[in-house]
Symmetry: C2
């Protein structure tokens, strides 16, 4: 994939987005005649993030994009020459100039797979020099993507399937691309949409957003809209002065709510009218700039009812401060009475969106039974992962010399099998045949002193071959497909493993042959 | 600045790196005829990060680069059209197509300035529609940069001026550009160098790095280097077989250390020899792959002494595990005896570099009096700011309607003035003349019920005009200049404010006229 054909250009990772020691080691390998030695590295984490029992694998699409575009340009080589000793053999730079990933093979967990400690998210093999150079960018691309996807999955599990979750953390992200990565992979992990327009443009993430307090406060109410006229939704009939119609409705709404017509803020109403003129089919009111009950709510109702007369239906309200759960309940109550009073049934189910520093705990409160909240916007606590801001993946040389290439096989025990039908991940030797469904086998749970038997109901290899000798073997799933796969993966996880606090640990086991090899190597002091 | 002339291309922020609601509000303003209304926004934070009493302002260079390149391309407009209602007036998109920042003026704290709660880091004025669109990208560019610079400054204060601090967190960063931003602004905040090659290429950050455990473990010792010969440093004299010379030196070193010559790991030694052949003038040994005392240290000494015979001087050793302080002490002891034993004085002062999950607490331990550690590499805890992963800046409409444009003036009271010679930041009305050095004035400390007098020894305006109507007014300082300015700023901060835990709060005050205006507005219920 030429850079020019990549819509992201060089926006994300480039070959020099790496640690200098990868380049110095490259020179070391090259000088030792080992640049073309075959090597295999495995990328994995040692502990699940956030105290949970699972992670979601993510970032593969960025890795594949990076690998396929991997070329050192003249400017890159010039910079490397300036950072390496002046007497470095020019033939080394010629080697680098010719370098690409055409010798690199990648096996990986599909994006959205469950991942567990020690299970490789990526196995990267190829010439030693190039797979070493890839270490830092691959770690950078996989770790944060997987962390965000996992964080988003936890939030989705807390929210339940019905709440609409909106990621809106770009302004809090750790750098521009931190924002783009966060928006992409929080969608993969289970969010519904993002506020980040670039994530929509470049990654196809659904985008959402309406208006902020600054829009509301920028109107004093003395502005004269150049054109306050609005045509009916159906296109038939004459235009109406929306601002004037809203004033008429305001009197009726205030009467219903027992408020004086002077109480609702004029500037806020002017802002709502301006927004409604621009978005008659997608009007949302931000209710809490002044007072929700005395201003935001009556102004919203007046505009929504004026639009309704023209055949338009408001799409929602938003709250960004205070006790969100309690206010949502009160607002829903007002919507119900107003729907009855004005004969507008859809008004009772206008979606209520909330935001304001929502973390796992507050989300659980907002998602409780009986909550009237429909849409939840989360910023800082999804994008920066404050409970654990890095996943801490490592990239280690595979032990190819001792044939310890561990190809994990997912292995789901049959219901009723001993001791429990919980799924496990099984590591086999590369040359071993995979277990067969229905056939009993003996495995060694990691860390246990005794083996046990399992009779898998279903066996699937976890790692798939995505890139062979630089060629993509099959198209990567779309982001939306990976998102659906992530939800399936989570659904198959038992409640004990899915639990977010003090979960049961997911079982990882070695095959008998692999355990025997490990024992022999340990006895020889080789492990 | 055309994008094509920008060496970073579109690598960092682009106009669509924004929240969708900025675009929907833009349409709202445009529809209301207010696109060209003049507006002023201020970007500031409300609380200092990490429990400290200061922050360092940073990110201005990224903001200026972003503003000057700000243009919506056809693809951007097409995407926006797809995200906005299908019946949106095409004239709106023509307005956007013509949009740039030629009407935008930016005042800001110079990068590396001290920043305090409520003091604007940026004041952005210009047409309402465009300054609203800038909100999210400016927040994204300033918040994380300032957070990282502040975090790095704290780590520098803990380390003291003499330790060399190396940022090496790219693999732990929140996305590729999170890594680039972290490397750039940790340097600004006081680090000496970064492992991130791209930060060197694009930002001029000094880069550093040598070798990792994977390099060491990739050698078994049975490899035959294609060319083990090394010429003397001076260029005169015949080449020497370095590998053979190292074996000779190993016997002497093991004799000195009381070790058997079979104890040091062959593969590790082969790796050191390979590295030394590639970097004879910059040989560093990574000591802890196998055993520091029985393998890493004797192998390092053998290679360093073989190089020394040819006139080369090793540049250091590195440790990445265990009790770093204690091991550094032991290693320094061995260096001292070996320096005497082999008559090589420089050996006793070979720099010792350490790394491994170093946080503020461990850094304080490593920087204590008598520590033999010279170079400290920090990754996760500098780049992800785990204590507080976001600064939480806001971007608020300036209250231009009530002439409350607050132009802060730095104001350093004269020594001996009442009640203390601590510096303070003073907010004045835009039309007020600045205070004069030596002239007493009455100020209202924020939150206090009484005024006090100060007689400033020195007064300086804090915000500077950087961009006027889209034109850069003066060249931005280089990154190294901003780094030096940051160190000056920190040096001028009193120890009570500089303290990292439970510091004295920096004083912010209002001028008498501004306080009177605030009181009048409060009385009218307008604040």
């Amino acid at each position: 994939m030429a850079e020019e054909q990549d819509p992201e250009g060089r926006a994300a990772a480039r070959p020099l987005l790496t640690d200098l020691y990868q380049a110095t080691m490259a020179l070391g390998y090259w000088r030792a005649g080992r640049a073309q030695d075959q090597a295999e590295f495995e990328l994995f984490f040692r502990q699940c993030p956030f105290g949970g029992a699972f992670a979601l694998a993510a970032g593969l699409r960025d890795c594949v994009r990076f690998l396929r575009a991997f070329r050192l340009r003249d400017a890159d080589l010039q910079f490397l020459a300036s950072a390496l000793p002046p007497d470095t053999d020019p033939a080394f730079f010629e080697h680098l100039r010719a370098l690409d990933c055409s010798g690199v093979t990648v096996r990986a967990l599909p994006e959205g797979s469950l991942a567990f400690p020690g299970v490789p998210l990526l196995q990267v093999s190829g010439p030693l020099l190039v797979v070493q150079l890839l270490e830092t960018p691959l770690l950078c691309l996989v770790s944060y993507a997987s962390l965000i996807a996992t964080n988003a999955a936890r939030l989705r599990l807390i929210a339940g399937p019905d709440k609409r979750l909106l990621e809106m953390g770009l302004r809090r992200a750790q750098g521009p691309d931190g924002g783009l990565t966060a928006s992409t992979y929080s969608y993969l992990g289970g969010f519904d949409a993002s506020s980040n327009v670039l994530a929509g443009q470049l990654r196809g993430v659904p985008v959402a957003g309406t208006l902020a307090h600054s829009f509301v406060t920028s109107f004093s109410g003395s502005e004269v809209p150049p054109d306050p006229m609005l045509a009916p939704a159906a296109g038939q009939g004459s235009q109406v002065d929306l601002a004037a119609s809203v004033e008429t409705w305001l009197e009726r709404v205030c009467g219903h709510l027992g408020l004086g017509v002077q109480e609702p803020h004029r500037g806020e109403r002017a802002a709502f009218v301006a927004y409604a003129l621009a978005f008659p089919r997608a009007f949302q009111g931000l209710l809490d700039t002044y007072s929700v009950r005395r201003s935001g709510l009556p102004n919203f109702l007046a505009v929504a009812l004026a639009l309704q007369e023209l055949g338009y239906q408001a799409v929602g309200v938003r709250l960004d401060s205070g006790d969100l759960l309690q206010q949502a309940r009160e607002i829903r109550g007002v919507f119900r009475t107003a729907a009855a009073q004005f004969g507008v049934p859809w008004l009772q189910s206008v979606p209520i969106a909330v935001s304001n520093n929502i973390d796992e705990e507050e989300l659980a409160r907002l998602a409780q039974k009986g909550s009237e909240v429909n849409v939840i916007g989360i910023g800082t606590s999804v994008v920066t992962c404050p409970r654990q801001p890095s996943l801490g993946c490592v990239y280690k040389v595979g032990r190819s010399k001792v044939q310890l290439a561990q190809h994990p096989q997912g292995c789901l025990p049959a219901p009723g099998s001993v001791p429990s039908p919980r799924p496990l991940t099984l590591f086999l030797l590369a040359e071993e045949p995979p277990p067969q469904a229905g056939r009993e086998l003996r495995v060694w749970p990691r860390g246990a002193r005794e083996s046990r038997t399992v009779r898998p109901a279903h066996v699937e290899p976890l790692l798939r071959l995505w890139v062979q000798q630089g060629q993509l073997c099959e198209p990567l799933p779309s982001l939306a497909e990976s998102r659906a796969f992530a939800q399936q993966s989570l659904h198959r996880l038992s409640p004990a493993h899915r639990r977010l606090e003090q979960p049961a640990l997911y079982q990882v086991a070695l095959s008998e042959k692999l355990q025997a090899l490990v024992d022999r190597l340990s006895a020889r002091g080789a492990l």
